[in-house]
Symmetry: D2
Subunit: 373 residues, 4 copies
């Protein structure tokens, strides 16, 4: 009925942190911090309207918040691409890779692998997409040739709506005490204190991504399961292998720098049942994520809004795959893709080509990738 932009839920979810009333205390006592994190966890549970990252039912932390966060007890930076790197796995796209990839252009057929952008698409949490045409037309007539023209005026969380490409400033981990920006770390160890700015990220912005042109492999789970997968249902390695077999593809043919894509059927809910679409999703978990890392791939993608399973079968985890692949390994992610045309043509291997809109300091990019066969 309403559009999920309710303020109430947020308020509820975020005010439970106790106000420490001691004045000059530079380090709050551990007890307070434990309380705070508990609040944060509860917030996540209540926060259905708090962006997509609040959708998973996450159990509040019972552990000492001063301890390192789960899955991150060890330092994960600097990145394998170098301590100064801001390009992550887009570094895979070398001339040799481009030439290898171009060999897959045989039919000359181009597939649009994403959705159109419009206000009626499923939008997570409080994100919006608004478009207005200023004037009707916007300007003119000018000259004796009487030219007129239209512009369009758009307001939106531009890199995080619709078909969206996550870049390296999007996901991080709070390694330190609650509220400590100097220990909220992103790819290559960069911290919120270091690069987050009201007017754009000062590091890890999507303008640093190299154009992607690589071999894409599609894993279609629908024939394997005989149905659309459901929210919370994890794609296992056994599933991946079953799909590859069904598609007559060899795991060995998936090479470093390639992209791996998953079709779950969840995308059929797009604009048909946005509420269900947003409520969770099937997807990969840490098992497949670790295989992606071993395989040294460039990116993942799916017909879902997060690629990974939501909620995670381990209810204490929130978006563990995002954190593992993007934050720790710089592996990129393309969400809300559309594979129906490829599948109709039984084309499971294709050239994936996508260049993010280089918005300085942006967290991601809009735009549909193409698949060329």
């Amino acid at each position: 009925m309403t559009d999920g932009r309710e303020r109430e839920a947020v308020t509820e979810s975020s005010t439970s942190s106790p106000a420490t009333t001691s004045s000059s205390s530079k380090t709050s006592p551990p007890a307070d911090r434990r309380e705070f994190l508990k609040g944060a966890g509860l917030g996540a549970v209540a926060g259905a309207s708090y962006g997509k990252f609040g959708l998973a039912p996450i159990t509040p932390a019972a552990a000492d918040p001063i301890a390192p966060p789960k899955l991150s007890t060890e330092k994960w930076w600097p990145s394998k691409w170098g301590a100064d790197d801001q390009a992550g796995a887009s570094n895979h796209i070398t001339p040799a890779k481009v030439i290898e990839t171009a060999k897959w252009i045989k039919d000359g057929k181009i597939y649009k692998l994403g959705h159109d952008y419009e206000a009626s698409m499923p939008l997570f949490g409080k994100r919006v997409f608004t478009l207005r045409i200023p004037g009707g037309p916007t300007g003119g007539p000018f000259g004796e040739n009487r030219l007129v023209y239209h512009d369009e005026f758009v307001t939106t969380e531009i890199g995080q709506v619709g078909t969206q490409f996550d870049y390296l400033g999007h996901i991080g981990i709070a390694m330190g005490a609650p509220g400590d920006k100097a220990e909220m770390r992103f790819y290559n160890g960069h911290t919120v204190a270091d690069f987050s700015d009201a007017y754009g990220l000062k590091k890890l912005g999507v303008e640093h991504c190299k154009p992607l042109f690589t071999r894409g492999h599609l894993v279609d789970m629908v024939p394997v399961k005989g149905r659309m997968m459901e929210a919370g249902e994890e794609i296992s390695m056994a599933d991946v292998r079953a799909a590859l077999a069904k598609q007559n593809m060899s795991e060995g043919d998936i090479r470093p720098g390639d992209g791996i894509f998953f079709n779950t059927g969840w995308g059929t809910l797009w604009k048909k049942n946005n509420d269900k679409f947003n409520s969770g999703e099937p997807g990969i978990g840490l098992e497949v994520a670790n295989w992606v890392i071993e395989k040294d791939l460039c990116l993942t993608g799916a017909d879902t809004w997060a690629v990974e399973v939501v909620p995670n079968p381990d209810k204490t985890l929130a978006f563990a795959v995002h954190m593992t692949l993007q934050t720790k390994h710089g592996i990129l992610n393309h969400e809300n893709l559309f594979f129906d045309d490829l599948i109709a043509d039984k084309k499971y291997q294709f050239v994936y080509s996508f260049t993010p809109v280089p918005i300085v300091g942006g967290t991601g990019s809009p735009g549909v990738p193409i698949g060329i066969t």
Copy 2:
């Protein structure tokens, strides 16, 4: 000093139309209309702040405004692509064209042919580009893994700022009486009354564009002229031929559906002298435009904000090339491109690949094309 978004100039430029005070008059007398158009012409002169289309010093019309507009005395629609077509020259991109194009991938090198998006780029008229990071970070921590994330919130004339791709709902011609939306016509004869809407164009939106993957030919004027070209300086066919010769390219090798691109040197002003950059530009005129039509090309592009010469040597004309190529022939246009890296490598022929962000009802698209060699 101020940012060019002054309201005054606009007011000045647009209030000269006489208010016909007769109540039920459906057709204003010709004298009034003549006045109106004069107003519109003066508006264009004064309208340095009225969007890029007011930048050319245009002489007010002396002719009878009831007569058809200059250059448009004949009906130009339906389009060669069919009366219902909304894809224009993107229809050139067939499988055969893709296969022909892919043959040009030899080095495996990818060039970014556009600029990054940021508030400091030259923005025409009153257009804006604003980016804010909501929160710092936007959300989290969530889960025992304590995930945090950033979004970005952008407000802008998204298809008409920075490196920009003009689509078919952008440019039209006022064929009828002043203010008559039913005779303001765009590609394929569509009218403002017909498809312009406050919430997005109902036809000719950029979502109808097919992904572009074609052969690109770059014409570099700087070596020909021995300098950056200047505002108001037109690229002639003789210039084009001189450049092709200098680059050891054959005019005959430019085939239907290809893209033609012009480097004028004007792009060196980008972010270095935005005021001069916006004040006019060198570019092609009707001579080259007609050659583009004869050659049956897919698109034009340049390192300038309009590709065509501004002001036009014929001072009565405003953006005559836009109108001729886009409105009448559905030939597309990519502005504010960046060719320096191609030129440094002496690569004048390349695969041009670009897929517009499919914003429903949008007039254009952001995003940088790539050149692959």
Copy 3:
């Protein structure tokens, strides 16, 4: 489920106008225009998502569209306040009126007569309200005193969301042929061709309104009806008189320049049942509107989104009271007010004080008026 910002309904509602395919015809034949208006009428019926003005079920015009529109067969301008006036009924607020009004300050009690602004309020059609806090905090720390600060970044149809004050550039009448901007007339005869601009209205903007400080009279219909009034239920003069009697007020005490306000109970749906709230409303019709004109009042107001009855009992009319009071008489209108506190204290007469936010070229203003007793 979705948020009513669907593009589909709009498309449906607006594409029925036939594209006249004759090329140079400057005046379409009457038959085509008749078709067009029929389309416009149907659009209104389908346009539940097309802004609040599409909510009323309006019967398409069967009459000749070349004829003047219903209720507007005669010229209504210039206004009684002079042909150049842009202040309308705010001209009532003279020093004498202010002194007369100030006498009503007896208790020293101030009532807020409007709602807070937030994304969860009922928003009509495709209008939005979005607020983001850039950064967290937005800036700092600065200086050895380590100052930090927050800003807020808002995108919205600012004068037409929540508690809203309609000004004179908001409502007009299409007096001429379909699509003819030169005959779409607003207060004092100003036309869309004359003052509508993509970057702000060039006349009749809300900055021209004088600060309002006048005597307010509240008519509470709930005790008269013994219940909340329903959508489509018109407040008659008999109702007004019954309410005044019940409240021990005299019709004669309502003086020129005063404000008249209506409580229908419909406001109790605010944020509780936004869908019903937006689906229509009770309110005044032309009978009371004509009394408002005779009484020479400054403004009307109500606890509803349009003050007037929607749908109008005459199904061929769309927002006839808006058009009659605002467009023809310059009488102002304040929507989505909140009277519960006044009513709880049985205060039906009060000082109404409101100064619109002077947004140059704006159609209305946000802000809550106060009632002082």
Copy 4:
């Protein structure tokens, strides 16, 4: 030339914080933090484009950043209005105060004490003000009465542009370690960790402000100085007394809950020399601020963008008056006011009436106050 929204300066100003490369350190060593603050201080110096709070040339902190910030060595909360209070000095506006105030309405004359809102007004740092009219008109025609309408679509830092009213979530103090949100404290001790949220402040939002209706006293410095005051020139108590004497006003007549306003002449630069206007300003310092606290006033105001002197004569301080009055005492502040009409009529005492637009979670409000005499 450009509009001050350059990204470069920001980058420069904010990247000097050293990336602590130690992996799992939950508490960075003091040495690092000292470095960080030094960076922050330098950032402020460079940050001419970083919002108004970066305009003052501030010397980087040499002191130990672990020590309390200058001027804030003692705990200042809870507020005198109670530990739960969110209304601050607007609590002064009681019925008794309203009645006392209303006695000053004698002439019945209303003065608008602020500026119109438009893109050409001086905007600090990267703040923007954009207005678009969607469509032309936005909607219609509807019904046989053929109604049409306009909306306006605005994007802006709405409470912090133009004539602006600062509320209690705007200014705070970083009491703890750099980047520690749990010790960035605002009015009543609320912390960034506690109430700052990407979608609106969860406490101290401007919706908590009570409508202001109080006695205003204007201090005109121009006749005292015989000229416009200059940037960095502080208004002393001696100045205030000289002005009061010149205006035949008694200091004793300034009562608790009243408002005090300063005219410096700086406002004459508005839209005439925006660059100079933004470069600094004359205003009150801590001496007058302390008098305002002693006098127990409701608010301050001026014809400048900060009311207080910028840069502060003590170059280590950034906006010390904001911090002292607003953050510590909940005394409100109205910026960019306009007093010329009052001064022309020699009216130095008036009813100040203003009700903020109650934007939930907003940091301030647009809108012009009125002065009634």
